[in-house]
Amino acid sequence: MKIVMAIIKPFKLDEVRDALTSLGIHGLTVTEVRGYGRQKGHTEIYRGAEYAVSFLPKVKIEVAVPGDQVERVIGAIVGAAKTGQIGDGKIFVMSLEHAVRIRTGEADADAL
């Protein structure tokens, strides 16, 4: 099992969700985050005060998937979240040791 974590542009969230749903992915966790990569921030000016805002708002999604689905999930996220512009985000994949569904006690692949 793997955790696929993707940092994407906020307005791409619905497209990514639709793409994952069409693959049969049933669960997804979303967090509003801020950060920076290659994309530069912007300047905000309030009367005389100028602030360089270097942390931009992004959405982080986390999805737990069986190991054999990882490449399809990555493909779906890339396909849905890509604009070709700088700041499209990144995908990180991590090993997942164990999973439990709280309501039933089902474990691992049955819990996903």
Binding site: E44, I45, Y46, R47, G48, A49, Y51, V53
Partner: protein, 443 residues
Amino acid sequence: MTFAHPVRAGLLSAAVGLAAIAGFADMALAQATAAAPAVADKGDTAWMLTSTLLVLLMIVPGLALFYGGLVRSKNMLSVLTQVLAVACLSMLMWVAIGYSLAFTEGSPFIGGFAKSFLAGVAKDTVNSGGTIPEYVFFAFQMTFASITPALALGAFAERTKFSATLLFALLWGILVYYPIAHMVWQSDGYLMKLGALDFAGGTVVHINAGIAGLVGALIVGKRVGFGKDLMAPHSLTLTFTGGALLWIGWFGFNAGSALAANDVAALALVNTLLATAAAALSWMFVEWAAKGKASLLGTVSGVIAGLVAITPAAGLVGPIGGIVLGLVGGAVSFFFCTTVKNAFGYDDTADVFGVHGVAGIVGSIGTGVFVSASLGGVGVENYDMATQVWNQIVAVIIAIVWCGVISAIIFKVIDLTIGLRPATDAEREGLDITDHGERAYNM
């Protein structure tokens, strides 16, 4: 206030004219008529009741939201509470001694205690030389005395203890506002006798608040993290809402200062629209050219700068003169809020000096120019532009020096007694929690 005497003079000349036509026998009758107790005019009274509440609208919620939106969310309630409580305190001070010290005969610099706690003022008393119940005149002027210290608070917001702001309002009203209001608006006042013009409070309210704010910002000191931390306004939506309410309420402030529902009020209303529109666009386009973008905060700031600049001139200059005052006021205020403030490095949280002080000075001096009948103003008897402008400058300088010196003493005294600033940790946490025990947004 400015028109109290022309009105009285008009009544007198009408009485004299009547006597000349009717002959000696009827002259006694005319004098008897003139001596009859003045009766309030219903139309004037209705407009002044409305104006009084419009100025209250400027304070709460107008000014409170305008400033509240400009601070960080952790200090939102502290600004709202300070503005509300200082306004309420100023009202009770006004009935106790303020009205009497400002609007009774006394020395050229301060009145007496004859009308303390409204002594001698009854339901049927009419304001001196005017046509409205003295209760209404008292209440209208009370809203002015309430908004002025509340305006100053914005300059040292986010870093001043609540108790210190209340003590400031108490001392500053007595030592600064009442004397300057007396000097400018009372018939025996020093600046009134000098011939300085201030239709609705350019010196009394705006220069006064701007200078007190600047002195406060300097003595209280910069906010922790100023120049390093992000101190962006937490809600320009609320600042816009408050700014719009200020504009609406300002018609009570300016057109109400005619103290009657008449042609002067109409002129003040037109000026309060046109000068404001001109200043908003002036700030917006200058900022667009200088910084690359036209901002909402800049445009709203231009609205306020225009309202301030036209305040001393509202019933005295023509509409085109008013537009010129607005254009100049907006651009000069922008320059002070950006270039000058950054050059000197003082921390004026809501730009009280940059907007109210600076546009107030532009308007007060500009009134001396555009009151000229040749420039579309209403004119002044024996008008000479150089003399009038000089009188305006003298009034501005006296207001700056009086307010600056006494405000500095007041802030120093507060600092040495109860203290001006909260502990650094408390300031970091935010005054909403540490001063008031509550949070603006529980989401």
